[in-house]
C-alpha cells in the first residue's frame, strides 16, 4: 500500500477535480459552516433549525433529504435519520429534496477517493480519508453517487434532528416553566408527564428556531432506534403506484413549449453541412437553434409538442465532421491492447512480483486475457430537462445527481451569475451515474434563451439518449498468476487498460483543469480487494480514446470485479482448490470478508451435489465499503442457459433499512447480469451502433432469477448499498457457466459465446 511519502510526491484524482497532495487543504474552510439555504425561503409561520429541518406553526414538519432519489430509496432513509432523532414518525413528515446548495456537500463521496483499500486503517490511510472529506466540503459537491449518501448523512442528519429536538424542548421548557429535563417528546409533541401538559412542535417552533443550537448534541443509542434498522414504508411509493407527475419528464408549466435535440452522432464533431429547409417547415416546429457545449455540437428543435420536435429532428439533413478517435470497435480495441504494453500506474505492489515470476515453472503459471465493452446507462426515463430564462433568471427542472454542478454550468452557459439560477431537482426515472452529467440541463438552458421567456421542456429520444451517453468505459486486462505446490497463488500480476473516466469527465465539466496523476477507477475492484497474496501487483493504464466515459453503477468495480473474480476462479480450477475455500484462505486477515463468504456458501448449500445440468459459481467483491459475496446457479435447458437463482450475502456494517438494502442488492445484481448477458455499445463510422432497447436490451421478467439475500453487520464501518450488488454478478455468472459447460468466458457480453434461455 502507498506510504504517505509516495502520496506527497504524487497527485491523485478524485471525483471531478485534481487536488495536489489531497491532505493539504486548510481546515479553516472545513470548520466554517455554510449558511442555511432554507432561510429566506420559508412559508409564513414556518421556522428552520438547520438545513435539514423546517417546522410550521401548524406542526407541519418538513425534512430536507438533499440527495437525488433515483430509486435507491435514499429520500426515505435520509428522512428516517432526521425523524429518528426528532422523535417523529415517517408518516408525519413531508420530505423535500431542497434547493441546490453548498450546505449539502457530500463528503463521503470522496472519502474513498484516495489510493487505499476500504479496509486499510493505517494512520496514513485515515489521514488521507479525513483530508478527502475536507476536500468534499471544500469543493462543496452536492452530489449523489459513490453509494455514499447514507455514510455522508448518518452523523450530520441525525445530529440535525437531535439538535432541533433539543431546541424545541428548550423552548417548551421556557413556555411551560418546566425544567427541560422533565420533558419528553413523542410524535411531534413535547409532553410533561407529571402535569399532563403538552405542546406541539409547531407551537414552539418559531421561538425554538431563534435559540442557540445546543453545544452538545446527544444521539440515541442504536438499541433505542424506532425507525432506523427496520424496514420502512418508502415515502415515494404512493406517488409511484398512481402515476403521479414526479419525474422531470412530467414537469408542466403554463405556456410551455416542447423540444428535443439532435446532437452529433460523432462525439465532439461539428456539423460540416446542414439543411433545415424540410425540418423548419414542418407543422408545429417553431425554431431550430445550434447547441454548442463541452459535450459536443448539434441542434435544438423548439416546437409546439414533443412529437413535432421528434419528427423535425429526424428531418434535419446534416453531415458531421470526422471523429478524433478510431472509427470502429476494432480500432478502439487495438488502442486498448496497445495501451496494455505501455507504462502504467502501479496501484498495488505487494512483495516482489517480477522475482516471483522469474523462475516460475511453466505448469505453475495461469495466464488470461479479459475484455469488457463500453456500456450505456439506459435509464428508463430518457434524458430531459425543462428550463425557463426570464428577466435574467434561469429556472431548471430536472432529475439530476449533482444540483450544484447543474447550477454552475448552466449559469456559465447562458452567461448569468449562479445566484440567478434555481435548480428544481425532481425524482429520477433511473440514474445509475448517468445523471451526474449535466448535458440534458445545458441543452434545455441554451434552448430557453431562444423562447422569449417561455418555459421549454426538452426531451431526448431514446436513440439520442443511447447514442450520447458518458459510457462505462471499455477495458482490457492481462493477468498472470504463479501457483505454489499447494495450488494457492503465490504471485498475481494484473495489468488493466481503459480510457480514463476522470480525464473524460474533466473535459466535459471542468475543461480548464488538467488531469494529473493516475485514475484509480481504472483498477478499482482489482487493486483494493481483501486478499493476501505474497506477491500481488495491479497496474492501471489510461488508454487514449476520447469517446465520453463516466460513472456507470459501481464504476471501475463493474469492470474489475469481473476481471479479478473470473481470474481467481481460473486460479482455483488450475490449483484444484474449491473457489470458496480459496477465498477464505486468501481473506483470512479480514474476518468480515470470511464471514460473508461463509454465509453465502451456507445459503446456497455450496458443495452439495446438484442434479445433472445445473451448476453454481461464486464471487466476492468489496466495493463502496460493503463486502459482498454472490453465488449464481445456472441450468442447462433446451432453450439455452437459464439463470435460476442468485444468493447474496452483504456486510454493510450498519443496516439502516434492511428492506431497501435488500431491494438495492437485488437491483444491483440484475443490472450487472443484464450487462453481462447481452449489453455492449459498439462503434462503426465513428458512431454508436445501438439505438434502442431492441438492440440494447436488459433482463426481462421471464429471465429474472429468484433471489435470496442476507444482510450482515460485522464490520465496524458503514458501507454503501446502491452499487455493491453489481460487481460480483457478472463473474458469478461466468464462473457458473464454466462449472456447467467447461467454457471460460473472458469477454463480455456472454451472448457472443453462449445462448441464454
Amino acid at each position: 500500500m502507498a506510504s504517505i511519502g509516495k502520496i506527497a510526491r504524487r497527485t491523485f484524482l478524485i471525483g471531478a477535480a485534481a487536488i495536489a497532495g489531497g491532505v493539504a487543504v486548510g481546515y479553516y474552510y472545513y470548520r466554517k459552516p455554510y449558511p442555511n439555504p432554507l432561510e429566506g425561503n420559508l412559508a409564513a409561520d414556518e421556522a428552520t433549525f438547520n438545513p435539514y429541518v423546517k417546522i410550521g406553526a401548524d406542526n407541519t414538519i418538513t425534512i430536507i433529504a438533499p440527495r437525488a432519489e433515483m430509486g435507491q430509496g435514499i429520500s426515505t432513509t435520509l428522512a428516517a435519520m432526521v425523524a429518528e432523532e426528532l422523535d417523529v414518525g415517517l408518516g408525519q413528515v413531508k420530505v423535500e429534496h431542497g434547493p441546490a446548495s453548498y450546505a449539502y456537500y457530500n463528503s463521503a463521496i470522496l472519502e474513498e477517493g484516495g489510493p487505499f483499500a476500504f479496509f486499510d486503517e493505517s494512520m496514513t490511510a485515515e489521514i488521507v480519508r479525513a483530508g478527502m472529506g475536507v476536500v468534499g466540503k471544500f469543493l462543496a459537491l452536492q452530489g449523489t453517487g459513490g453509494s455514499a449518501s447514507t455514510r455522508d448523512g448518518f452523523d450530520k442528519m441525525r445530529q440535525a434532528g437531535a439538535a432541533a429536538r433539543q431546541m424545541l424542548i428548550a423552548a417548551a421548557a421556557q413556555k411551560l416553566g418546566i425544567a427541560a429535563a422533565d420533558l419528553e417528546t413523542a410524535n411531534g409533541s413535547i409532553l410533561h408527564k407529571a402535569s399532563g401538559k403538552s405542546l406541539t412542535y409547531g407551537a414552539v417552533a418559531a421561538t425554538a428556531a431563534t435559540m442557540a443550537p445546543p453545544a452538545e448534541i446527544r444521539l440515541k443509542d442504536k438499541a433505542d432506534w424506532k425507525l432506523l434498522g427496520k424496514p420502512q414504508k418508502r415515502i415515494d411509493m404512493p406517488a409511484k403506484v398512481t402515476g403521479a407527475p414526479i419525474f422531470g419528464i412530467d414537469v408542466t408549466l403554463p405556456d410551455m413549449l416542447y423540444g428535443t435535440v439532435k446532437m452529433s452522432p460523432r462525439f465532439w464533431a461539428k456539423p460540416v453541412k446542414v439543411d433545415f429547409s424540410k425540418a423548419g417547415k414542418m407543422p408545429g416546429v417553431i425554431k431550430i437553434v445550434p447547441i454548442d457545449t463541452n459535450y459536443g455540437h448539434g441542434f435544438g428543435i423548439i416546437a409546439e409538442n414533443t412529437w413535432a420536435a421528434f419528427k423535425a429532428a429526424e428531418a434535419i439533413d446534416t453531415e458531421w465532421a470526422d471523429p478524433e478517435y478510431p472509427l470502429d470497435s476494432a480500432g478502439i480495441s487495438e488502442v486498448l491492447k496497445q495501451a496494455l504494453g505501455t507504462k502504467g500506474s502501479v496501484m498495488r505492489d505487494d512483495g516482489d512480483v517480477d522475482t516471483a515470476f522469474a523462475d516460475a515453472p511453466r505448469e505453475k503459471i495461469v495466464e488470461a486475457d479479459y475484455a469488457v465493452p463500453y456500456l450505456a446507462h439506459a435509464t428508463m426515463e430518457p434524458m430531459n430537462a425543462t428550463a425557463r430564462l426570464k428577466d435574467g433568471v434561469l429556472d431548471i427542472w430536472c432529475g439530476n445527481q449533482a444540483p450544484t454542478l447543474v447550477r454552475q454550468l448552466c449559469a456559465n452557459a447562458v452567461g448569468i451569475e449562479q445566484d440567478k439560477v434555481s435548480v428544481h431537482t425532481t425524482f429520477m426515472g433511473g440514474g445509475f451515474g448517468r445523471r451526474v452529467e449535466v448535458d440534458y440541463a445545458l441543452c434545455a438552458a441554451l434552448m430557453a434563451k431562444e423562447t422569449a421567456g417561455r418555459p421549454i421542456k426538452v426531451i431526448w429520444t431514446r436513440e439520442e439518449d443511447m447514442r450520447h451517453d458518458a459510457y462505462r468505459p471499455a477495458s482490457v486486462g492481462k493477468f498472470q498468476a504463479r501457483l505454489g505446490d499447494d495450488g494457492m497463488p503465490v504471485a498475481i500480476d494484473m495489468t488493466i487498460a481503459s480510457p480514463s473516466m476522470i480525464t473524460s469527465t474533466l473535459r466535459r465539466l471542468f475543461p480548464s483543469i488538467s488531469p494529473l496523476g493516475p485514475d484509480k477507477s481504472i483498477v478499482d475492484g482489482a487493486h483494493n480487494q481483501p486478499y493476501t497474496i505474497p506477491n500481488y501487483r495491479v497496474t492501471g493504464v489510461a488508454a487514449p480514446v476520447s469517446i465520453p466515459v463516466g460513472s456507470w453503477r459501481s464504476v471501475g468495480s463493474s469492470i474489475n470485479g469481473f476481471f479479478h473474480e473470473g481470474f481467481l476462479d481460473e486460479i482455483a480450477v488450475a490449483g484444484k482448490t474449491d473457489p470458496v475455500e480459496l477465498r477464505k484462505k486468501l481473506m483470512a486477515a479480514y474476518p468480515a470478508a470470511v464471514k460473508v463468504v461463509e454465509k453465502v456458501a451456507e445459503m446456497a448449500k455450496w458443495g452439495e451435489a446438484l442434479p445433472a445440468g445445473k451448476a453454481k459459481g461464486m464471487t466476492f467483491t468489496l466495493s463502496f465499503g460493503s463486502w459482498v459475496g454472490e453465488i449464481v446457479q445456472v441450468a442447462d435447458t433446451p432453450a439455452g442457459i437459464r439463470i435460476e437463482k442468485v444468493w447474496i450475502a452483504a456486510d454493510v456494517g450498519t443496516a439502516l433499512d434492511p428492506g431497501i438494502i435488500e431491494a438495492q442488492l437485488i437491483s444491483g445484481a440484475v443490472y450487472g447480469l443484464s450487462a453481462a448477458i447481452s449489453q455492449e455499445i459498439t462503434f462503426a463510422d465513428g458512431m454508436v451502433e445501438q439505438s434502442n432497447f431492441h438492440d440494447y436490451d436488459a433482463m426481462r421478467i421471464f429471465q429474472c432469477p429468484a433471489f435470496e439475500v442476507a444482510i450482515l453487520e460485522n464490520f465496524h464501518k458503514m458501507g454503501g448499498v446502491g452499487e455493491v450488488g453489481t460487481p460480483p454478478a457478472a463473474p458469478a455468472l461466468a464462473n457458473a457457466i464454466f462449472a456447467l459447460t467447461g467454457k471460460r468466458i473472458r469477454t463480455l457480453p456472454m451472448s457472443k459465446e453462449v445462448t441464454f434461455a
Binding site: 430509496g73 404512493p238 409511484k240 416542447y258 430518457p382 426515472g429 437485488i666 443484464s674 421478467i701
Partner: protein
Amino acid sequence: MRLTVDGQAFDVNADPEMPLLWALRDLMGKTGPKFGCGIAACGACTVHVDGQPVRSCSLPVGEVTGAVTTIEGIGTEGKLHPVQQAWLEEQVAQCGYCQAGQIMSAVALLDQVADPTDADIDDAMGGNLCRCGTYPKIRVAIKRAVVLKTAGI
C-alpha cells in the same frame, strides 16, 4: 378528433400520426403513461384501449377508436386499484418510472386471467422493461393482487 380518456371526453387537435402517448402527455395533460423507447420495446407507455393493453408510443392517435384508460384512471391515492394496493404493500417500485406501465399490464392480465401462473405472468409482463430489477417483487405483487381482488378490495 374526440377521445375518451379515463372516463373524460377530450377534443384533440393533433396530427393523426401523432402517437397516442404524446397526445395524452402533451395535449391532454395525462403524464401518467411514460415515454421510454418510442418503438413499443419497453412498455412504459402502456395504457388500455377498450380494456386491451397497448403501447401508446406506437399507436397513432388517429387510429384510436375505443375508450382509453391510463394509470390515472384506475385508482387514486385514496382509493387504489387492487393491483396498485398490492404494489404498495409489496413496496415494488424503486425509481418507479416503468411502474405505471407494469401496473397497467398487470391489471389487463388479471382482467383476463383471474389467477395467473408464473408462465402467464412471464407472457403478459415480458414486454415491460424495468432497469431497477423489481421483477421478483412484481411477481409477488401480482399474486397478492389476486388475493386482494378475490377479497373484494
